[in-house]
Amino acid sequence: MDHLAAVNGSLSAIGYGLAAIGPGIGVGIIFASYIQSTARQPESAGLTRTYMFLGFAVVEALALLGIAFGFVFK
């Protein structure tokens, strides 16, 4: 036996976990920035909300591509 360690089950679960790190940080930064900008300038909340959701949707797409590819490249 020259294996040091072995993994049972689906490797795509691990792959998806890795793929979700980046978008997780990204979505966190987007909401943090929105909270910060709203705290600094409360009147701008309505103005920037649309951009927050746009940014959130674009970043989230990366994590969702991860879900889809986990099933596609089986």
Binding site: T50, L54, A61, I67, F71
Partner: protein, 257 residues
Amino acid sequence: MSGLVLAETPFPPSVEDIFPPHLFGVEWLTKFSLFLWLAVALVLIYFLVSYRDPKIVPTKKQWLAESIYGFVREGVAKDVIGHEGLRFAPYLASLFVFILVGNIFSIIPFIQVSPMAHIAFPAGLAICTYVLYLFQGIKKHGFAGYIKHAVYLPAPWYMQFLLIPIEFLQAFILQPVTLALRLFANMFAGHMLLLVFTLGGFALLNAESFFLKPISLVSWAMTIGLTFFELLIAALQAYVFTLLTANYLAGVLADEH
């Protein structure tokens, strides 16, 4: 004890578990298509009934219908596209309401699955948006003009080798694909998440160790919590789909950069 029967729950669930059998032996009629028609009927009938006899002082029904339409018209069409966007407000509003009703089906007891958790339906909606913004772009800029508008950015010429393929991919492939995939993956993943915690509860209940059995209650409590989280996701994804459709239309209708 029912635990012995429950031991046969499929765990972990796989993709096949969310595809139900054909209803009444008809090949095209599945749970998904049935509830898709139900969503269409609900939206149509609700808006027809609440607008049948409009009052100056609105009734409750009329108020709700008007505020949903007003929210999309003012908050999405006008804010994102501008004054020109008002002619897309009916499309955006029906998109929003239809996706919202479809998504909320994922947490209604005995329905429990959103039609949007099947890639065919988000893909159909994304194709509608794709055709709409291609058509609007070609109408506004002309065919060659639209292609140039979509792929060309003012930048030094040596950057164009990099920018043109990226912009082309973005405008003609990635935008519609991610639009469909985002809605589908959210609804599908949400459904799987509820399934994992529900079936995980049964798996714990059937565990060998006596001390693992009560933990199934924690798992089911998580299911209830996540159901409310799903409601949030359902509303958010309906909004995001509408917002992105409006954003793509705004990009197409913008004047030369």
